[in-house]
């Protein structure tokens, strides 16, 4: 009797289990695709149109929806859950369905002219202290802003330099210099923006200056000469005056007929270039590239040294350069580092 009852019980339990599972299992030919991060399920199974037309539409759609939702719920309930403030919460995975963005990804700000130069030369930003010792006030004050240290706008007396004109207002001179610095900075800022936007900006043209150089004077003359209603067409030249230089290019065309030998020569040259496998060498470009490369290397070396040991900087650099000269002619002589190096144009 006892053995029989155990078997019966087991069978009964199994049946119950199966019934419970039947409550929540749904059979589909093709499995559904889930994107639980979006709470999304997509059912690819073909829907039976005939039964849809025979049955009540709403009931059919509801039963289809119930089955699909049950499958989605089963999938969600499989995820690990936790209790947060009396509520059972399920952590969702990242959504997998790719969706288009709203706006293109943000672009990094293009470097300013100074940033480009600083990178080339290996110049790093140095943090300045906020407080500076003020000699006259005998206290620590802020470097900038209201009540700053060593404020030269608050001077009540300025010594006139020996070379300066005694009647010149030194206060006004300072103020003007400051205003010009501000204006220059603003102009540079705008130029940087224009470069970032890839907009062509007109040059400054001729700015008023205290002392004009020879080139600037020549330019001013040529500008004045062409600033007439006829664009300088009827402007007379002074005796012994030279023709203006660098006034721009005029397009020139070859004659349509004649000069066959020249034409032939040109065509042959073109064909030769096209036929050869080797690319032609642009000497100036190559030299410029080489120079930039060297600059960059130097900057990198400087950067490394700056980061590492600081004490024995001078000695070590001299030695290193001497050894690594490798017959580069002029290089050995300029072992002093960045300061002594001659201008790139002179090489």
């Amino acid at each position: 009797m006892a053995a029989c009852s155990v078997e019966e019980l087991l069978a009964k339990a199994e049946q119950e289990e199966a019934e419970k599972l039947r409550n929540i299992t749904v059979h589909k030919d093709l499995d559904l695709d889930f994107d639980v991060g979006n709470l999304l399920a997509s059912d690819k199974n073909r829907i039976d149109t005939r039964s849809f037309k025979e049955q009540n539409k709403e009931d059919f759609l509801r039963s289809l929806a119930r089955d699909n939702t049950q499958l989605l719920i089963n999938e969600i309930w499989k995820l690990p859950s936790e209790r947060v403030e009396e509520a059972i919460v399920v952590k969702l995975p990242q959504p997998t369905t790719p969706l288009p963005r709203e706006k293109p990804p943000p672009k990094p700000r293009p470097p300013t002219k100074w940033e480009q130069f600083a990178k080339l030369k290996g110049i790093q930003k140095k943090k300045k202290t906020n407080l500076v010792w003020d000699e006259t006030a005998k206290e620590w004050r802020r470097r900038w802003g209201y009540k700053r240290a060593n404020d030269d706008t608050k001077d009540w007396l300025i010594e006139v330099p020996e070379t300066a004109d005694p009647n010149e207002d030194q206060f006004a001179k300072r103020l003007k210099a400051k205003k010009e610095r501000v204006a220059k900075n603003e102009f540079n800022r705008l130029k940087n923006i224009a470069r970032a936007q890839k907009v062509k900006v007109p040059g400054l043209g001729l700015t008023p200056k205290a002392q004009q150089s020879r080139d600037e004077l020549a330019r001013a003359v040529s500008v004045a000469q062409t600033s007439t209603a006829s664009v300088g067409m009827f402007q007379e030249r002074l005796p012994k005056e030279k023709a203006p230089k660098n006034t721009g290019k005029k397009r020139k065309f070859q004659p349509l007929i004649g000069d066959f030998s020249n034409e032939k020569q040109k065509q042959l040259e073109l064909l030769k270039i096209m036929d050869s496998k080797k690319p032609t060498l642009d000497v100036t470009k190559a030299v410029n590239k080489q120079m930039r490369e060297e600059d960059r290397e130097e900057a990198a070396a400087k950067y490394k040294k700056g980061a590492g040991k600081k004490g024995r900087k001078g000695n070590m650099s001299g030695k290193g350069k001497g050894k690594g000269g490798k017959g580069k002619g002029g290089k050995g002589g300029k072992a002093g580092g960045g300061k002594k190096r001659s201008k790139p144009g002179k090489r």
Binding site: E16, E19, K20, L21, N23, I24, G37, N38, L39, L40, A41, S42, D43, K44, N45, R46, I47, T49, F52, E58, L61, R62, L64, A65, R66, N68, T69, Q70, L72, I73, N74, I76, W77, S81, V84, A87, I88, V89, V90, K91, L92, P95, T97, P98, L99, P100, R101, E102, K103, P104, P105, P106, I193, A196, Q197
Partner: protein
């Protein structure tokens, strides 16, 4: 506004904050939708727009006045409005003799129209017509798409992606299980698209996972597909491009084999085996005196050998 981004210099902190909120971001906010009506609208369309607004509520803007535009002919005014309110999804309702009860779902990328799909309403039951207890507003719905076309036909594929974006709500890291009570079911069948909205009742099943019963709450639509304007593949791919910073980084020195077992290379210092803790037993413990004698024993024969 976008092409001049670098040039606008905000004069106040507030305007700076505003410009930053509009600027492109690495991880984007939830898309907002603008819901607007055309020159003529029927009662059905007005009600439908209202109901769809309530489904999307915190992330939508409703335009109350009518806007006489035809998005399929000229989308510039839509683009202008999207720039104004910073919306990248739109829903446009109109009604005329040629295309009665017309809804246009669309999305924009970088303030230019990406996809537009026109759906005609054949049958509409509004939210208020069905007398049943509703879900609270702002509930994240479960979305189910059924039917072969959503996987095979190009237009339906795009429609699926568009509807997913329109109705999915904010993307969240976790959900409350009891809060999963709204289901939106889209069925593509018989050349039509049936949109049904159900409330989901969680019944006891005897196991951990509950049994689901559904109750229709509306709005429900029978749509037919009309005109479409789909983005070219190039533009579509461009819109999907993810920034590098968002892509997961590759882990160095790890690999997986065919069974998914993880292998990694670990660099360790040399182990000192003399300090190793082994199992202690009474028989193995060294006694001081004995050790000494043993050492003496061991040394003695060595010496003897050398002498030999």
């Amino acid at each position: 506004m976008t092409q001049l981004d670098g040039v606008i210099k905000p004069k106040t902190k507030r305007s700076k904050r505003f410009l930053e909120s509009r600027a492109p971001k690495l991880t984007e906010d939830v898309k907002t939708a603008m819901i607007m009506k055309g020159g003529n609208t029927s009662q059905t369309i007005t009600q439908a727009l209202k109901d769809l607004y309530s489904l999307r509520k915190p992330h939508a803007v409703v335009y109350k006045k009518k806007n006489i535009t035809r998005p399929f002919e000229d989308s510039t005014s839509l683009e202008f409005f999207s720039k104004k309110t910073d919306c990248s999804l739109f829903l446009f309702g109109s009604h005329n003799k040629k295309r009665p009860n017309n809804l246009i779902f669309g999305r924009l990328f970088d303030f230019h129209v990406l996809d537009m799909i026109e759906l005609g309403i054949e049958k509409f039951v509004s939210l208020s017509e069905i007398k049943a207890s509703k879900c609270p507003e702002g509930t994240k719905p479960m979305l189910v798409f059924a039917g072969e076309p959503f996987d095979t036909v190009n237009e339906h594929k795009r429609l699926k992606s568009l509807l997913l974006e329109f109705f999915r709500g904010p993307s969240v890291s976790a959900v409350r299980l009891a809060g999963l009570e709204h289901v939106l079911h889209f069925t593509a069948l018989d050349g039509k698209i049936f949109m049904r909205s159900y409330r989901c009742l969680l019944k006891k099943s005897g196991c951990r996972t509950p049994r689901i019963e559904l109750e229709e709450i509306g709005p429900s639509f029978d749509f037919i597909l009309r005109r479409t304007h789909l983005a070219s593949d190039d533009l579509y791919r461009l819109a999907h491009k993810q920034p590098k910073a968002l892509k997961p980084k590759k882990m160095k020195n790890t690999s997986h084999d065919a069974f998914g077992t993880k292998f990694g290379r670990v660099h360790m210092q040399k182990q000192d085996l003399s300090k190793l803790h082994t199992r202690k037993m009474k028989g193995l413990t060294k006694r001081k005196r004995k050790v000494l004698t043993e050492e003496q024993d061991a040394q003695a024969p060595k010496v003897a050998k050398i002498e030999n």
